[in-house]
Symmetry: none
Subunit: 138 residues, 4 copies
């Protein structure tokens, strides 16, 4: 299975972080279903042009968080995620990001309407790239 992940060594955020974040999102959004076999660490490392160690770390961290299950000699699989976790995550992830933005706005004395209009601007082309309907395969 090809995993749609986009990382760059140029960003400030460490690569393993970027990968973890995106994999977590894929699992929690249901785009990577329970039981799916992920690429082997070597294969994935080649895909993303990074070291196998970086991928191993990703898999290890996510296993510890309960999102993956790896079995020696067999590979790494997507673990079962409680529906409640999925829901909570879905809400929290966006909520806290928005909250941070609002917080910044408050600090620099933005008006609420300024914030609203910026959001609308950002949402104009939102539906076109996959965020339209359901997508949540719960």
């Amino acid at each position: 299975m090809k995993i749609p992940i986009d990382v760059s060594a140029d960003r400030a955020e460490p690569m393993y972080h970027q990968i973890e974040e995106q994999l977590r999102a894929l699992i929690l959004s249901g785009q990577l279903a329970e039981g799916v076999l992920l690429p082997s660490i070597r294969e994935f490392a080649a895909d993303l042009s990074c070291s196998v160690i970086t991928i191993r770390r990703v898999y290890q961290d996510l296993e510890q968080e309960g999102f993956l299950r790896t079995r020696q000699g067999m590979g790494t699989f997507v673990a079962k995620v409680a529906a409640s976790d999925r829901e909570r995550y879905r809400r929290d992830a966006v909520y806290y990001a928005l909250k941070a933005a609002v917080e910044v706005g408050r600090r620099i004395n933005c008006t609420a309407d300024e914030i609203r209009s910026m959001l609308e601007e950002l949402l104009t082309d939102y539906g076109e790239e996959g965020g339209s309907g359901n997508g949540n395969r719960d």
Copy 2:
């Protein structure tokens, strides 16, 4: 002058970063006006319970960005900020934070309306703490 800054060594973000960010916001929002004398490095370090080295770095970075002006033997002052910078900053800071939030939403298949309603929830008590009027005092 007492600078209203809230930092914590417990957060993941490095302290110098937290301080710089908040000082920058205070200056760009006009809450720290041009010419204001900032605390001495030692005093500020004591206030924030951090190392003088950390404050030195903050002052140095912000001076390089043009927000501060240090004069030998006299101390560190808030520099003049161009109105255009202020405006650009005001817009960019919030805009990019919002953009990040929207990006997260797209990844996990949030609908645009879900995002809008979260924002409204966050904005309910927004005006009460200083975001009411017009923060551009230039």
Copy 3:
């Protein structure tokens, strides 16, 4: 013959290890007597829902340890175990496990009495499941 073995791929311990350990215990305790024919590799693998390779390894390891004897075309049998081995094993297996427990206790400053009382608690229902009489059937 149906071999009463309980393994799970979910445990941290590798499967071949779990199986070997339990088979060894069955043989040394006399529950699998000399000359008993074990299931074929394929059959056993199916029973335990694991790979034939895993079973092959188990049989191989235990044959090397002298507990099994494989005869071409006839299958794998339980070998003769010296009474002394049986005795030594009986003692060692439990002894070293207890020793490890005591070692842990020492590290975290448990008192000897705390350890004793835990053991008693664990031994309350001990006799009911097979530990009653004399297990040495040599």
Copy 4:
């Protein structure tokens, strides 16, 4: 501070595991109190004759478990452990080790008395090495 840890690359258990286990025990037993600064990764690695990476992994794992707190540029410290965690750990660690031993005993038909007498034998010199009185500095 010198940390009394005893590891060996010869054992089957991975070194990072051995170290983690012993550090965890030291913290949970109160022998390493909250706030204590641990050796730097390089120093500790030299002490234990292993790679800095192994130590970094140990520190990282234990931080994730909440036992350590590491701050870039400052070092790695013992975190606050809830008294309840300490108590639970104290009991569980020994209890499960004992349980495993009893389980082995049952499998090979040991009598309860055999197990008891082995334990007593192991406990004869128990008090002499620090497990006597309290030691729990809660």
